[in-house]
Structures are given as C-alpha cells and as structure tokens.
C-alpha cells in the first residue's frame, strides 16, 4: 500500500477590490485562525487598484509569517502599460519573498530564481511544466479548466514540481483590456472611479432569462458558480497534488479552510464538507464540472475516483 502525503492548503490572492482595512483584516484573521500553509497576496487583476492594498502589505506579510505561513507575492495577470511592466520587473528583481508569475513577462524575468506559477499561466501538459521547472518554477497552480485526466498526466510527467489545484472560489474565466464592470455603470476603464469596489464579491451577469451566469470583477470575468473540489480530495491526493488552493470570496474563508482541512484529513465526510461550504458561503451554487471534462458550471454529485 502506498502512503500518500496529504496536500496542504494554500490561499490565492484576493481577486476583488476590497478597501485597505478590509483586506488587511481579512489576512489578519487568516493568520490567526485558518489552517492554511501558503498564502499568495497581491493585486493580480488591475494595476489601477494597487494603491488600496500597498499601505498594508508589510503588516499583513509580517502577521502571516509570524503565524508560520509561507508568503508569496502574486504578479499582475495582464501587463500592457510601461508602468505595469516596471512593476513586474521591480517585483521579480527586489522581492524578498517568492513571486507567483501570472503572465509571460514575469515568467521571463524570474528565470533562474525559485518561483511559483499561477493558475492563469497556460500549463496544459507535462512538457510545459517541465520547461517551467527547468527555469526555476517550484510550484504550479494548474489552470482551473483542466480535467482530472490531464491533471494526472501532468503530475506524473513532471516530478519534482509541487502541483496545486484551484479547489474553491469563483473561477477566473477571462480577462480583457476593456472593463465590463466600469462599462456596466456607464464608465470607461480610464475613468472608472474604482466602481468595482462597490461589489466586493463581484457583480452578477444574468442571462435575459434571469439565470445567473457570470460575475464581473473589473477587467476580469469569473464564474457565477463557486468551484468546489472537495469530494475529489482523495483522488487529487492520490494523483500527487501537493496543494489545494482556496480563492478568497467575500464569505467566511476561515470556515471554508477548516472544512477543507477536515476533509483532507478524513475528519469529515464529503457530504458534511459540502454542507459546511454552503453554510460558509450562503446562497452560492457549487460547481465541479471542469474536473470531469464537462461544462465548468456543472455540479457532478456523488463520489469521485470511480
């Protein structure tokens, strides 16, 4: 019988625009209460938002590290302006913490240094994972749309890399030069008045038949459903996944982390874990379709690993 090392929990960067104190207090509580080992922080969606969190980064990092958590800094997902390029260069050059690359510029700049690969970098096969590892990547959060069949192949094909799975949160589906969030409120990106800050859990896009479908988060579009790979944890551990990523929503993330922690350790049954997620994030619809190579919005009930 093979002994599988249980995966640890990681927390992805907050994708939404939260004001500075809310952002800081969120991480203070994570530091004090959540059974999370790795924390990725930083603004990844829109460079215009950076000044909201900048004053608090130092104290947040300190508090998280004092609590024994490893901290990495996440880079911007979309880099088009000179100012944005300079930010990524400075981060890659000066960061005292490992950096998570979320676009190709960071990939290039981080070559030769240990770094992490974020879920928005296209790693669809072992060859790509091995190439990134040869350049210094030590962990890779795989793209959320990957089915389990691909996950297994990639992990098998790239030994030595710590693979991470996007297991909880609204799934980042697209990013654009255009800000649909600002547009929805009659504004444009260049004069947006930080209107996305009004929607700390995103702004719902419904179909014309009033079916919730997508959620706007500034220039990013995320799923309306909340990905929840929790009944799949044994299968993921068995495949050699090292980390389970939780993506912050405006809900009780400490309870979410505890539900995952208990499920990983086998202290709670899948149905119980799912009920706890629903309690921690009321009103949400869960999905896991990507994992089963179906539409991402689907919820496949029942036990995995069959």
């Amino acid at each position: 019988m093979t002994v599988t090392t249980l995966p640890s929990l990681s927390l992805g960067p907050v994708l939404y625009l939260w004001d500075g104190p809310k952002w800081r207090d969120f991480y203070f509580r994570i530091a004090d209460e959540a059974p999370i080992a790795h924390v990725f922080i930083g603004e990844t969606v829109c460079s215009k938002r950076l000044h909201f969190i900048e004053p608090h980064v130092g104290e947040v990092v300190e508090r998280l590290e004092q609590a024994g958590k490893s901290v990495s800094l996440s880079s911007l997902a979309l880099v088009t302006l000179e100012r944005e390029s300079q930010l990524v260069r400075a981060l890659a050059r000066d960061s005292a913490h490992p950096v998570e690359a979320n676009d190709l510029s960071a990939l290039g700049l981080l070559a030769g240094k240990p770094h992490a690969i974020g879920p928005l970098i296209n790693v669809y096969n072992g060859a790509t994972a091995r190439l990134l590892a040869s350049r210094g990547a030590t962990s890779i959060c795989l793209p959320p749309e990957l089915p389990m069949t691909s996950v297994r192949e990639i992990v098998r094909d790239a030994p030595g890399v710590a693979f991470e799975i996007f297991a909880f949160g609204r799934v980042p589906l697209a990013i654009s030069a255009r800000c649909a969030h600002a547009r929805s409120k009659g504004l444009v990106k260049d004069n947006c008045q930080f209107i996305c800050g009004d929607d700390p859990d995103g702004l719902v896009v419904e179909t014309l038949d009033r079916q919730p479908f997508l959620v706007l988060n500034g220039v990013q579009t995320v799923s309306h459903t909340c990905q929840a790979l929790i009944q799949e944890l044994p299968e993921l551990a068995d495949a050699g996944i090292s980390r389970i990523r939780l993506s912050p929503q405006d809900c009780d993330m400490v309870s979410v982390a505890r539900a995952f922690d208990d499920a990983i350790a086998g202290r709670s049954a899948p149905a119980d874990a799912i009920a706890r997620l629903q309690e921690a994030y009321p009103g949400t619809r869960l999905s896991n379709g990507f994992h089963y190579a179906q539409q991402g919005a689907a919820w496949i009930a029942g036990h995995a690993s069959t």
Binding site: V79, N125, P143, L173, A177, S184, L208
Partner: protein, 325 residues
C-alpha cells in the same frame, strides 16, 4: 507590410494566393488548431498541394498549430509540427510552450511564430519567447493600443503581426475559458469557442432566443436580425440593465489606421476568417491588398467596400483605440 490571409479550405487558400496574399495561414483538420470547426481545415495531402501552389505564385504558407497540447495526447501536436515542417511550411504558429520547446529543439531552422493565443502582450513576454524558443515573429493579442504597439516594437527583437480585419476577441486570447464554462469545449484545449454543437435557437412568443449550452445568449425581437450566440457578444442583464455586457456583435476593422501601424513598426497585417467561404476571402484579400498600397486619398473608398463585407456591417477598431477600454 505583409498581408497574412486566412484559409479554411484548399479553395479559399488558392483564392487568397490569387488575390495577392503575401502569406496564407491554415491548420490541420483536428484539435491542433484554434479554428477546429466541422468541415474546415487541411489534410496532409491538401497542405502539401497548397504549399506547392503558394510557392509557384510567390506566396508563403504559415501553419497554425496553436492550441495547447492535451496531456497524454502530445503526439497529435508533435506530428502536426513534424508534418508541417516536412511539407515545407514557411512558418509554424504556436501557442504552447511545450510545443515551442519541441519545435525549437527538433527543428532549429524552422521559422517559429508566436500565436495570438500565447498572449504575449508586452516586451518582457515577447523577449522571453524570442530568447527561449528563437521566435521570429509575434502575433499580438488584441488588447493593445497603437501607441502601446509602437513602444513595444522598440523593445523587442522580433517582427510584429497584428489582426486588422475580421472577428474580434473581446477577452485576451488564449486566456479565456468562458466557452468551456458554458459548454465544456474550450478554445485552448479543443480549438473551438461557442461551438455550433451547443447552439440552439427557439421561439418564445414573438422573440427568437439564441442559446449556448444551458444559457440564453440573446433574444431578438421580431424584425431584428438574429446573430450567432458567441458568448462574449451576447445580451445580458447586469444590475437590471439589459445590454451587450462585454461587446456588441461587431467585427474588427483597423484599416483606417494602416499608416499608423506601419509607423509603429508592424511587419504584417492579419485577416481573421478561416471559417469564411472562398468568395469572402477572395474579395477581402483583394480589397485589402489595394487598400494597403493605396494613398490616403484612395483608401476610404476601398475601406467602405470592406465594411460591407463585415459581420453585421458594424465594425470597431477595438483595443487599438484607447477609448474602447
């Protein structure tokens, strides 16, 4: 500037060459290319004949192998590169790092172009691909303004190709899973977006409803022309406002800015439309050929002719102009 023209069929390929394309791009009939539509694309023999035809007429052939290799099925993508090289492709257009590494190692002399699907949007990204895989050209994502492109051109060591006419992605290319969220079929993995297999139209009272998977993408009142339910060009409700949340059903047309693109350092202009028929390709390529060569006084007449060919006859210059954001 080179004119890079689409071909989804051998007939469209010949029309594009005859109409004056400097290069024609096409793909194999499988999931290795980002226009994996039923009834389109090339067998190995068809590609061989197409390359020979292009050579006779002084045109180049670029082969798009620009989806991401499915783990465990890499052979399909490797063989696509092997065969494109063997058959004499003037360039292969790639998006996947693993496939770029394979190509650069196996075929160091093969000209490698970076697909728009790779999402290389800034100088550090492009230089990473040039240094790592010896890429000779980058097709830029449709998220940059013309001044952004001009600035980029000064900082990179490869040629720039940009889309100027045809379909328009609203989202950064190669980074969009909207279609797979709704249908399970993804541009990155399956080479398909908003697939026809998941499209339905139904009547509801006096409205025609277009659906993709389980979702209503648009409702057309009587008298309004119904379009194809491309997900990002649908009508939705956002905070009780009904409208095109991401983009109207428009297509891209940047021909008004050809001189600015040339001054910005762009080497090649690309026409989208491998899913289009041969008559469309012939007409667009021949008018574009003349429009690129025309002086400022002659160009507007040619451009208005092009506009008549556009999807829904409404066009946008998209991200190339800052106000689009």
């Amino acid at each position: 500037m080179e004119l890079i023209c689409p071909a989804g069929t051998p007939a469209a390929f010949r029309e594009a060459v005859d109409a004056g394309a400097d290069a024609v791009y096409c793909g194999f009939r499988d999931e290795t290319n980002a226009r994996n539509f039923p009834g389109l694309n090339f067998s190995r023999d068809e590609l061989k004949a197409a390359i020979a035809y292009a050579r006779q007429h002084g045109a180049m052939t670029f082969v798009a192998i620009n989806t991401f290799m499915r783990a465990g099925r890499e052979k399909l993508w490797h063989e696509a590169v092997d065969d494109a090289v063997r058959l004499g492709a003037d360039a292969v257009i790639l998006a996947d790092f693993g496939l770029m590494a394979y190509t650069a190692e196996r075929y160091p002399d093969q000209r490698l172009h970076v697909s728009v699907q790779a999402s290389a949007a800034n100088a550090d990204a492009v230089n990473f691909l040039v240094e790592t895989f010896r890429a000779k050209r980058v097709v830029l994502p449709r998220i940059l303004t013309i001044p952004d492109i001009a600035r980029l051109a000064k900082q990179i060591r490869c040629e720039i190709e940009v889309f100027v006419f045809g379909g328009l992605c609203v989202m950064a290319e190669g980074r969009c899973s909207l279609s797979s969220y709704a249908t399970g079929k993804s541009p990155n993995m399956n080479g398909i977006c908003s697939p026809a297999s998941h499209v339905r139209y139904r009547e509801d009272g006096r409205e025609l409803v277009s659906e993709l998977g389980d979702y209503t993408i648009n409702r057309f009142p009587a008298g309004e022309a119904a379009g194809y339910p491309t997900l990002c060009k649908g009508r939705f409700n956002v905070a009780d406002e009904r409208g095109y949340a991401f983009e109207d059903p428009v297509s891209l047309d940047v021909m008004d800015h050809v001189d600015l693109l040339r001054e910005a350092g762009v080497s090649a202009l690309k026409i989208e439309g491998r899913q289009r028929g041969k008559a469309y390709v012939a007409e667009v390529v021949s008018v574009m050929r003349r429009a690129v060569a025309a002086n400022a006084a002659e160009r507007p007449a040619l451009i208005s002719r092009l506009r008549l060919l556009s999807e829904g006859q409404r066009t946008t210059s998209g991200a190339y102009e800052k106000r689009w954001r």
